[in-house]
């Protein structure tokens, strides 16, 4: 008998896909990291945005080398990602994101929680580099453990209360890439933030 999919997983996939996020299923964090490298490989070189003559914030025009940022990873995991990235010719960074406000190719983050009904990833981003990673990359890859999926917004309340009560925190719900419809109500993806959003759903 075929295994039936967890309804939370199906709902999350359905809703995240509806907001033009791409959802893939992976075994663990290592596979999620490999997926991020794959995304980086497939995408066009980042279009680095001109950010001013006097501000040293990266170059302008098409990037010469692809760049991937993953500030949230443990030392060990980062070392692995960096090694594998280098082999493919990518620069992999885990800090100093302010120097790259003009844009990077891929940002890799880990979500604390997923909300199935809205297709949302919940990220805690008090660290400034982690925060910037999710904003200045062209493709954002988020690793989300299936075990952290909840059904709806109200099911996330306890968790949010806990982290917000701890002290200082920057928490983001992210559902799909940046979008606008401000010109004649025509939907355009990627006006300020990422142009692509990927969610790697992890078994563990």
């Amino acid at each position: 008998m075929a295994e039936t999919e967890d309804p939370l997983v199906s709902l999350f996939k359905k809703r995240a896909t509806a907001v033009t996020a791409k959802v893939v299923e992976v075994k663990d964090l290592r596979e999620a990291m490999s997926y991020a490298l794959e995304v980086c490989e497939k995408k066009d070189f980042c279009e680095q945005v001109y950010v001013g003559d006097n501000v040293k914030l990266g170059s302008y025009g098409k990037a010469a080398q692809k760049m991937l940022a993953a500030p949230g990873l443990s030392k060990q995991n980062f070392a692995m990602l960096e090694k594998n990235g280098k082999e493919k010719g990518f620069t992999v960074i885990r800090g100093g994101l302010r120097a790259h406000v003009s844009g990077i190719d891929v940002g890799f983050s880990t979500a604390e929680m997923g909300i199935a009904s809205t297709g949302t990833c919940v990220l805690t981003l008090n660290n400034e580099d982690m925060r910037l990673t999710t904003m200045i990359c062209e493709a954002h890859v988020v690793a989300l453990p299936k075990s952290r999926l909840v059904n709806d917004l109200e099911d996330a309340e306890n968790f949010l209360n806990k982290i917000m009560n701890k002290g200082v925190m920057y928490t983001s719900f992210i559902s799909g890439p940046s979008r606008t419809a401000d010109i004649e109500r025509v939907l355009v993806i990627g006006v300020h933030g990422p142009l692509e959003m990927h969610v790697a759903l992890m078994e563990s």
């Binding site: 910037l132 949010l160 109500r185 300020h192």
Partner: protein
């Protein structure tokens, strides 16, 4: 932004908007798409229950605003935030300017904030030499064009892609192609990223302020608010003090409705919760300099206002504009000063004052479409009527309004004048039931529809004779509330109803002391007249022994049912009579369908193609939706139309005040009915009959317009 100094120049502004073909087409497309999108996106949640919860939690929070503010301040300050409170817009601007000065700020990026618009925050900042850049795409476009927003969520909805391309070409000193909308957005991304990178200060709004953790919540699709609150070393959030909620639970409920109602999305791409001064590498301490400025500007006084205080529950989704038939015709620049739509008319009065609000608050047709979709369950049309009453009390009523209210409050005088009217109008009616050539002074702008003539004999003057044909005893004892339009203009609709009651074996009583329902004077803000008239009607029916009081006018029915209790709140000793009268009120159609249960045994099957216009006060005011369609189906073939629940543009005195808008709404409406292929158009309100039949008369009578009673009576089996 509406700034017209008087009604004449406001009307001129409205005419200009009506003549703007691009605007009309855009808003028309939007209205149709929004309606369909909204229906689909609410399909999986219990909208009414959620709105009721939001409404209750908002009212509770507004009741303890001071307590919540104190809690927020304490929690936020624990986390390194400076919390300010400004009594006025000027004070809020001063605080933000001071923060800019103290931190040596030169360049500022802003993410969308209606509160920022409310206090015109950019001006003083620019005057002190700061460069201020709006980063929301729509806001940036209108900033470059030096305009105000025309919608709270889609600020540049009034502009075409080519107008955007023009302004971007000028800014970028390079020609941009208007057909490439993605390219235009990309240009904004590039141009604004540089502004983000160089900014010293970011100014945002806030959708929520959570008292228990001192957090602010911001919803955004573009992600510009995230960059605004992250890149610059200083962040100032400006928000109304009404945005404080006890905890994240209340905010989560609002998030379930806000994006759905605003733009038909389940959730915005981003919801950000900023709890305290976060890490920021640019500052010596490594922490963001974070200020939250709460704006009062009349809010704490408004919160205590028993009738209008609910307006502060608004979550700024903009849905009241999205469904407004007037907005659909003229757009947001004519439907608000800063805040747009029904809530805009209200908040203009409270936040920007009488001068700005005087003309605007007249521009509500009272169709209740906004009330029906409001995320916070605000009774917007009632608050607008209350503001009209306050304006009359503060400034004196306009001559025509006080004259009319005096006449209407005196039933005998009113009815004598109406009877006299049928003689006075003779020279202008010819032999037709329409007024043909009214002198210009009465006819200004009214040429779009033929106005009906006053009937030769009023219903009340024939009652004695009519009564004899009715059963003395039967299934239900009915009282008949005639309303002025049918009593004096369309008595044939009431007579047709009597035939149906006879078929249903019901005796009918008609107390002659009854008068107008009072809605027209309430719409004009004539509080005392509305009260006197209501009293008169309650007394007229108080001694009568009836099971139901039937009315064939949807507006009378919903006014009596929904408003009499509040209008007569000052008469507690009459509470029982008021409750009894309004409780017994029933519209003709749902009575015939649900109570009498008349159907195929009474009506003959003709297969006639019939379209239906749902009067605003029937479908929304009374919640009667299915019954008229079912009744039509018993005899004819019901032809649905997408626009059947859209207002016909009548709105009583509205169509006299704003004839051009009324005419355009009517025209669109009739076209959609004619497209159904129906030969007959049935409705449930004499006011709608007047508007629709009058319009059809002008268009060449493609559709026969009838009241439901007339349609049913002529299809009784013989």
């Amino acid at each position: 932004m509406q700034t017209a100094a008087n009604m004449k120049s406001y009307l001129k502004d409205l005419d200009e908007a009506l003549a703007d073909k691009f605007l009309r087409r855009t808003l028309e497309k939007f209205a149709v798409a929004y309606r369909a999108g909204r229906k689909a996106i609410f399909a999986d949640i219990n909208e009414k229950a959620l709105v009721a919860e939001i409404s209750a939690s908002k009212v509770e929070a507004l009741g303890k605003m001071e307590e919540l503010y104190a809690r927020f301040k304490a929690e936020a300050e624990k986390r390194g935030v400076t919390v300010h409170r400004a009594a006025t817009g000027a004070e809020a601007c001063e605080i933000v300017c001071r923060i800019a000065r103290e931190n040596n700020v030169k360049r500022i990026v802003k993410s969308k904030s209606m509160t920022g618009e409310e206090i015109h925050l950019n001006h003083p900042l620019e005057e002190m030499g700061c460069e201020v850049t709006e980063t929301d795409l729509g806001e940036w476009i209108i900033q470059l064009r030096k305009e105000g927003p025309s919608h709270m969520v889609m600020p540049a909805i009034h502009l075409s892609r080519h107008q955007v391309a023009d302004v971007f070409s000028e800014v970028g000193k390079e020609k941009r192609d208007g057909e490439d909308i993605a390219g235009l957005a990309r240009f904004a991304r590039r141009s604004l990223r540089a502004k983000f990178a160089a900014a010293d200060m970011g100014i945002s709004g806030a959708n929520f302020a959570l008292a228990d953790t001192g957090s602010i919540g911001i919803c955004t699709n573009e992600g510009n608010a995230r960059l605004t609150t992250t890149l610059p070393r200083v962040h100032v959030a400006v928000c109304g003090i009404d945005k404080i909620t006890p905890s994240i639970s209340e905010a989560m409920r609002i998030i379930k409705v806000l994006p759905r109602n605003a733009v038909g999305q389940i959730i915005t791409s981003y919801v950000n919760w900023i709890t305290g001064a976060n890490e920021c590498a640019l500052n010596p301490g490594g922490k963001k300099i974070l200020h939250v400025v709460f704006l009062d500007n009349g809010r704490s006084a408004l919160a205590k206002d028993p009738l209008c205080g609910k307006a502060l529950s608004c979550v700024r989704c903009g849905a009241c504009a999205n469904v407004c038939p007037v907005f659909r015709m003229v757009g947001g620049h004519r439907m608000g000063h800063v805040y747009i739509g029904a809530i805009g008319l209200i908040l203009t009065y409270f936040f920007h004052g009488r001068d700005k609000a005087r003309n605007l608050v007249q521009n509500c047709i009272n169709c209740e479409a906004c009330k029906d979709v409001c995320a916070a369950g605000i009774d917007l049309p009632s608050i607008i009527q209350e503001i009209r009453a306050r304006l009359n009390e503060e400034e004196g009523s306009p001559m025509e309004s006080s004259l009319l209210s005096k006449v209407m409050a005196n039933r005998k005088l009113f009815h004598t004048l109406l009877r006299f009217g049928k003689w006075a109008q003779r020279p202008v009616t010819g032999a037709t039931p329409f007024i043909r050539h009214l002198p210009e002074i009465f006819m200004s702008g009214q040429g779009f529809r033929a106005l009906p003539a006053i009937s030769k004999k009023a219903f009340r003057d024939e009652w004695k004779t009519l009564k004899t044909s009715l059963p003395a005893r039967g299934r239900y004892r009915l009282g008949l509330f005639a309303g002025c339009a049918q009593d004096f203009v369309y008595p044939e609709q009431l007579k047709a109803a009597l035939e149906i009651f006879r078929a249903g074996n019901c005796p009918v009583d008609f107390p002659p002391e009854q008068s107008c329902c009072g809605l027209p004077v309430r719409m004009m803000g004539e509080r005392q007249a509305a009260e006197n008239i209501a009293l008169q009607n309650v007394r007229a029916f108080a001694a009568r022994d009836c099971d139901y009081v039937i009315t064939l006018c949807a507006s009378c029915a919903s006014h009596i049912k929904n408003n009499y209790g509040q209008i007569l709140a000052a008469y507690p000793h009459m509470a029982f009579e008021v409750e009894q009268f309004s409780g017994r009120i029933r519209d003709f159609t749902s009575f015939v369908r649900d109570i009498l249960g008349l159907g195929a045994d009474v009506f003959k099957k003709t297969g006639e193609a019939v379209a239906y216009h749902a009067p605003c006060h029937q479908c929304r005011g009374l919640g009667v939706i299915e019954q008229p369609r079912a009744l039509i189906g018993e005899t004819g073939e019901y032809k649905p139309s997408d626009e059947e629940q859209t207002c016909c543009g009548f709105g009583g005195t509205y169509s006299i005040k704003f004839p051009e808008i009324s005419a355009q709404i009517l025209d669109a409406k009739l076209s959609s009915f004619e497209a159904t292929g129906a030969s007959t158009l049935v409705t449930d309100c004499p006011g709608c009959v007047m508007q629709l039949r009058g319009g059809e008369e002008k268009r060449g009578r493609k559709l026969k317009v009838e009241h439901m009673s007339e349609f049913l009576a002529r299809n009784i089996k013989t």
